[in-house]
Structures are given as structure tokens and as C-alpha cells.
């Protein structure tokens, strides 16, 4: 079943004119397709929004962590995009979107050189890069407040060079998962799996290998709260992410000629709202307080979950998917904490768990009105719309592979790093905060903080 590959190729072709020799100026591409400008504008503007999610992640993570580690979180969030840019240009992009080798890996396009000096190819690179950067940055939240900065360099490199692009190739680069003989193959519209599940389960591996922060669990093993230093920043970050997600999901049509973008935008929004609503209500029932931190997590959970199905469902389904996501994120946060795993910002619950839920939800709610970035066959249809179990099976397989691949490789990466360079700062440094120890720069030197 090569259909997905062919489809994607034909989209890329029509947009970028890759059939021709490299076209660095864009003149030939425009000559062949006079409607290309609107697609370029759409993809670029959406890509800019996705880039801006880096700021959102930085603010959410800093807000949910303590003031003494805020500089460190800024460093990490800037650095992972820097590493992503350089490494993805060098290898990652080639592994992900290069010429397919046996359904497993891409093999061309190193350093964006030669044939790749082409407007369409650069456009594709830009789009894939901002996604890769997102996957890398997800991890930083789960390993916050205790990972050595040097280890962050190495880990970012490995995620961007191998873990992310190879799995990405399987789903988006024409690899084997996209060609599963069930339904339309494993499908993931904007990356609940490719970006979020992968990021979330590498994050889980990191959190497990690192162990919990000093003081996160009492002597009795009971989890304690370690409040973050700024709800305002966390909320700002969530708004920025919500905003950026309007690039992430609708832009994933990679073409403005898919007017379905309007449906994608609405669905993205509805799931975010539903996720936030559900999360705050559940915690309210439990503690009689309106828990803002959890509401923010719920919003993000809804966004993550709807990322895979957003193009194939109706608005009410987005609401349902979001509500489930909101419930899942709350349960998941308690679940991991209950097992001694410390994820300071809830990255595993938001991205990992709800990434999986998003993939599966495609197999349930896809309503058969839309295809693989095209209005023509094969359309994606799930269980509730008469699609039978086929698509669901493809989704479950894809999800299982995403979880396994990212967790196992993530675990090996962190374990090896720990053996070789040591990944955790000393308890003394952790107590003082990474800002002074690793960076020499407290984030807020003019203010008195209790350094908790």
C-alpha cells in the first residue's frame, strides 16, 4: 500500500515542484504552479506560529518550576531549538524526509545541500524543523530542575538526529507505519504520535533515569507538591501554545487549497477548551479549589489529543476527545506521582499519554469526510462511523510502536549518558538551584526569593 507515500509525494510535488531540478529562486516552481504563493504563505505563517511555541514551552516550564531554576529552563528551551536547527539540517531532515530506504529511513538531503537548494525543499525543511524542535523541547519539562546542562546538549542531539526523524520517517516520510495494511495505514495528521507521544515517552525515560527531585517524595514515599514560581508565566505560556497550535494543526495540510483548514482550526480550539474544562472540574470535585495549574495542563492535553484526529472529525467529536484528554491528564499526573516518578510540569501526562489517546481517537471518531491531506480517497474512517476496526488497529499499532521506540531509545540514551558523563547535578547544586551552579546567573537577582 503505497497510497500515503504517493499522496504525500504528489502534494509535495504540486507545492514545491520537486519533479524538476532544484529551483533555488522559485521562478520555475511559480511558472508551473501559479497558485503556489498562497500555499507558501500558509505553510510559512503556520510554521512561524509553530516556532513561537518554543516561547510557550519556555514560559510553561519556567512557570511550573522554581525561581532558582528559571535561567536554566530558558537556556534549555533556547538551546534545544538551536541544536534542533543545526542537527536537523545536518542529518535529521535527511533521515526523516530523504529518499526512503526499505520503509525504515530516509537517505538523502544531508546539510540541505545540492538538489535540496530548492524553494519547495526549503519550505518542507522549515516545516519539519519547527516540528522537530517541538518534540525536543517537550522533554525539558520532565527532566527540569536536576539535569546537567551538558547532558541536555547530548540528549537534544540524539533526539533530533535519530529518535525523532526515524520515527517520523515511518509515519510522514513514507515509511512502513504509513503503509500498514489497515484502514488508510497508520495516520497522524499533525503529530499526536510523531511529535507528542515520542517527546512524552522520551521524557518519561528521562524522568525515570534521573529520579525525582530532592524533596518531591517524603520519607514515607508520599508525593509532595513543589509549587512553580509563576502561575502568570505558566498561563502566558499556555496561551502562546494554544496560539501556536493554530499553526501546528491547520498548517499540517501543507496547502491552503485544502479548505478543510477551517475545520481543523475549529476542532483544535474545541478540544483545548474541553480539555481545560474537564481538568479544572475534576480537581474541583476532589479538592474544592479551582486548580489553575491543572486547567492549563488540561488545555494542553486537549490540544495534544486533537492533533492526530483534527482533520478527520467534526467539532462535537473534538469536544469529546478534549474532555477525555482533560480527564486523562489528571489521572495520569496522579498515576506517575503515585509510582515515584517526578515530572515537574506534567510533560509525560500531557504529551505522552494524550498523544496516544489522540492516535487512538482517530480510529474511533474519523468520520470519512476527508483523506490524507486531500479531499479524495482514501478517506479516513473510524469505528463510530462505520469504518470498522481497521483504522483503529492501524492506530493502536502506530501508538504502540511510538511508545516503545521512544521509551526504549530514550531510556538507553539517558542510561548511557549517565554512565559516561553523569546526568544529574549534585544534591547541593540542586538545592542551590541550577541557575547559579550551571549558569552563574540567578534569574531574578533584584528580588528576594525563598529559594525553596
Amino acid at each position: 500500500m503505497l497510497k500515503k507515500v504517493l499522496l504525500i509525494s504528489s502534494i509535495l510535488l504540486s507545492v514545491s515542484g520537486l519533479a524538476m531540478a532544484a529551483d533555488p529562486s522559485g521562478a520555475e516552481t511559480l511558472a508551473q504552479n501559479s497558485m503556489a504563493p498562497i500555499d507558501y504563505v500558509w505553510v510559512l505563517v503556520c510554521g512561524f506560529l509553530v516556532f513561537f511555541m518554543q516561547a510557550g514551552f519556555a514560559m510553561v516550564e519556567a512557570g511550573f518550576c522554581r525561581a532558582k531554576n528559571a535561567t536554566n529552563l530558558m537556556a534549555k528551551n533556547a538551546l534545544d531549538f538551536i541544536v534542533a536547527s543545526l542537527v536537523f539540517m545536518a542529518f535529521g531532515f535527511a533521515f526523516m524526509m530523504g529518499n526512503d530506504l526499505g520503509g525504515f529511513i530516509g537517505t538523502s538531503g544531508w546539510f540541505l545541500h545540492g538538489e535540496n537548494y530548492d524553494v519547495g525543499r526549503y519550505l518542507t525543511f522549515f516545516w519539519q524543523l519547527v516540528f522537530a524542535g517541538t518534540a525536543a523541547t517537550i522533554v525539558s519539562g520532565a527532566v527540569a530542575e536536576r539535569l546537567k546542562f551538558g547532558a541536555y546538549f547530548v540528549y537534544s542531539f540524539i533526539v533530533i538526529a535519530f529518535i525523532y526523524p526515524i520515527f517520523g520517517h515511518w509515519v510522514w516520510g513514507g515509511g512502513w507505519l504509513s503503509q500498514l495494511p489497515f484502514g488508510a495505514g497508520h495516520v497522524d495528521f499533525a503529530g499526536s504520535g510523531v511529535v507528542h507521544t515520542v517527546g512524552g515517552f522520551v521524557a518519561l525515560a528521562g524522568a525515570i533515569v534521573l529520579g525525582p527531585r530532592f524533596g518531591k517524595f517524603g520519607k514515607d514515599g508520599k508525593p509532595k507538591a513543589i509549587p512553580g514560581h509563576s502561575i502568570t508565566l505558566a498561563a502566558l505560556g499556555t496561551f502562546i501554545l494554544w496560539f501556536g497550535w493554530f499553526g501546528f494543526n491547520p498548517g499540517s495540510t501543507f496547502s491552503a487549497h485544502q479548505l478543510r483548514i477551517a475545520v481543523v482550526a475549529v476542532n483544535t480550539n474545541m478540544a483545548a477548551a474541553a480539555g481545560g474544562a474537564m481538568a479544572i472540574l475534576i480537581v474541583y470535585l476532589k479538592t474544592k479549589k479551582w486548580d489553575v495549574g491543572m486547567m492549563l495542563n488540561g488545555i494542553l492535553a486537549g490540544l495534544v489529543a486533537v492533533t492526530a484526529p483534527c482533520a478527520w472529525i467534526e467539532a462535537w467529536a473534538a469536544v469529546v476527545i478534549g474532555l477525555v484528554a482533560g480527564a486523562l491528564v489528571v489521572m495520569s499526573v496522579y498515576f506517575w506521582e503515585g509510582r515515584g516518578i517526578d515530572d515537574p510540569v506534567g510533560a509525560v501526562s500531557v504529551h505522552g499519554i494524550n498523544g496516544v489517546w489522540g492516535l487512538i481517537s482517530v480510529g474511533l471518531f474519523a468520520d470519512g469526510t476527508y483523506g490524507l491531506c486531500t479531499t479524495s480517497e482514501p478517506l479516513v474512517r473510524g469505528l463510530f462511523y462505520g469504518g470498522g476496526f481497521d483504522q483503529l488497529i492501524a492506530q493502536v499499532i502506530g501508538a504502540a510502536v511510538a511508545v516503545t521506540w521512544s521509551f526504549v531509545l530514550g531510556f538507553i540514551t539517558f542510561k548511557l549518558m549517565d554512565k559516561i558523563i553523569g546526568i544529574r547535578v549534585t544534591p547541593q547544586e540542586e538545592i542551590k538551584g541550577l541557575d547559579i551552579q550551571e549558569h552563574g546567573t540567578p534569574a531574578y537577582p533584584n528580588f528576594y526569593s525563598n529559594n525553596n
Binding site: 509532595k224 479538592t287 495549574g293 489528571v330 499526573v333
Partner: protein
Amino acid sequence: MQKIEAVIRVEKLDEVSEALEKFGLPGMMVTHIEGHGNQKGVVEQFRGREFKVNFIPKIRIEIIVKDQDVEKIVAEIIKIARTGEIGDGKIFITDIKDVIRIRTGEKGDKAI
């Protein structure tokens, strides 16, 4: 000369300082402290997890006064800072050996 050190509720600071102003209060130092006493702490929560905060923000005011003024100032503070609920705070009195005004070098009662 004695130092009156009063721990009061945060929301009482403005009222207390206005009242003392009327006495021709010589001066005052205010610090924000975290107190722990009979008053129990608050339960806060973060991302769904509740926790107990044992320290409660309080205001400490310190006033150095002549021996003869101690009683009336203490009485005034009590009058205003009292709500009758646990957590109203306490007043501690200490002897001060000497006071010097930096600007003039004056010493003792004159410096107050």
C-alpha cells in the same frame, strides 16, 4: 530606652502605623516575617496536589522608645491589632543600651 517588637497581622499594619503616628511616634522599622505559633497554617495546592504551609506571613514592627513611653504605645498597639482570633501576635520588650543618630551623632534619649 527600650525596644518594642510587635508581631501583628499583615492587614493591621496601616491602621497601627496611623494610630502611632498620632502619638508623635519617633520612628519605626517594619519587616515582613513568616511566623509560626498557635495559628494553624493554610492548605495550598499545586497541579492537583495539596500541601500544608506552616508559616504564615506576619508583620513585625520595631520601635525604640524612651522608658516612659513604653506602656502607652504597647497599649495602643494592642487596642488596634487585637481581633480576638488566634494569630493576633505578640509584643516583646527588650532593653536598649544606647541609640545614636547617624546624621547628628546625638546619643541616648535625644537620638530617639
